[in-house]
Symmetry: C2
Subunit: 174 residues, 2 copies
């Protein structure tokens, strides 16, 4: 498997096409990760949710990490990791335009995840129908792309076993 670092432009392309992402936040040193729907406008990410554990986490500590991947096989995948910060977009005149922008972006995408009318994040929270729009300001991002290399193709025959198995065996017996 050959792993290459992606350019910022390539990372942006992945973000622009994606709608499903994994969002990590934390509270009191306990990380939390859930799948979410996010939309990218070329600069920031936008999402919405109902009140729940992740919103509590991000209100307490706005630092977040977002991971977006496309895994076709063991040796063919891309993964983009975004570091950013959470910013709530409450329903006040100041955020009217940004909320409309977020809505438009999110509306364009297939909603793969978490219709915001269902709040299930944490049993401590009762169901709530109040939507919370938010922006994730992108601080930095990195991306990696894997493609099969010749050795892997050669060793894909069952008689050879997997490259990783052989490597693991080597490591554990030497």
């Amino acid at each position: 498997m050959l792993i290459e670092e992606m350019t910022v432009e390539e990372c942006r392309d992945v973000l622009t096409r994606a709608s499903l992402a994994r969002l990590a936040c934390e509270m009191d040193g306990q990380p939390y990760v859930i799948p979410v729907n996010l939309a990218y406008d070329g600069s920031d990410l936008f999402g919405f949710a109902t009140m729940g554990y992740k919103i509590d986490c991000m209100r307490g500590n706005p630092l977040v990490c977002v991971e977006i991947d496309d895994i076709k096989s063991q040796s063919e995948w891309t993964s983009v990791v975004v570091f950013g910060s959470y910013e709530e977009l409450p329903d006040i005149p100041e955020h009217e335009k940004t909320r409309a922008h977020a809505y438009e972006l999110l509306e364009r995408r297939t909603m793969w995840w978490e219709p915001a009318c269902v709040s299930i994040a944490h049993p401590a929270y009762p169901k709530s129908f109040a939507p919370i729009f938010y922006r994730i300001r992108v601080d930095r991002m990195t991306g990696h792309r894997a493609s099969p290399d010749r050795v892997e193709v050669d060793s894909s025959s069952p008689k050879h076993g997997s490259r990783l198995s052989r490597w693991l065996e080597h490591v554990l017996t030497h």
Copy 2:
């Protein structure tokens, strides 16, 4: 879409079948999430990696969160979230049996992700070939399963637009 909470047994089944997971850790309040290969033995999760940013994070703060999902469509998915703590299994006699157990578990699975011979997690780290085996002691887990409901099936016709779109529109215009 109907969302149900899964039983602990159902969550365990998902973990037992899974190999690809998203692992969240944190350092100095900055969350980090990456796809990893993990194997579950009915009690703990096991993985391996080379030295890199995530290992640094977990050495600094062993609290982690692991998310495992199977997303077939917008309205048909499962997601299990595990809270646990990282425990390194260094190559010393004390951990010999546990390392062999981890190896056996990981070997059984298709290695979808991150052959440990490639270290790409962070540009600050040079490539390293030393594998680090680790256990994630599962503290607690929650799981949710979604299935389409009648309303959704009825509204799947393009002329009606998506249920979510209509809901969003309602929320934003009232």
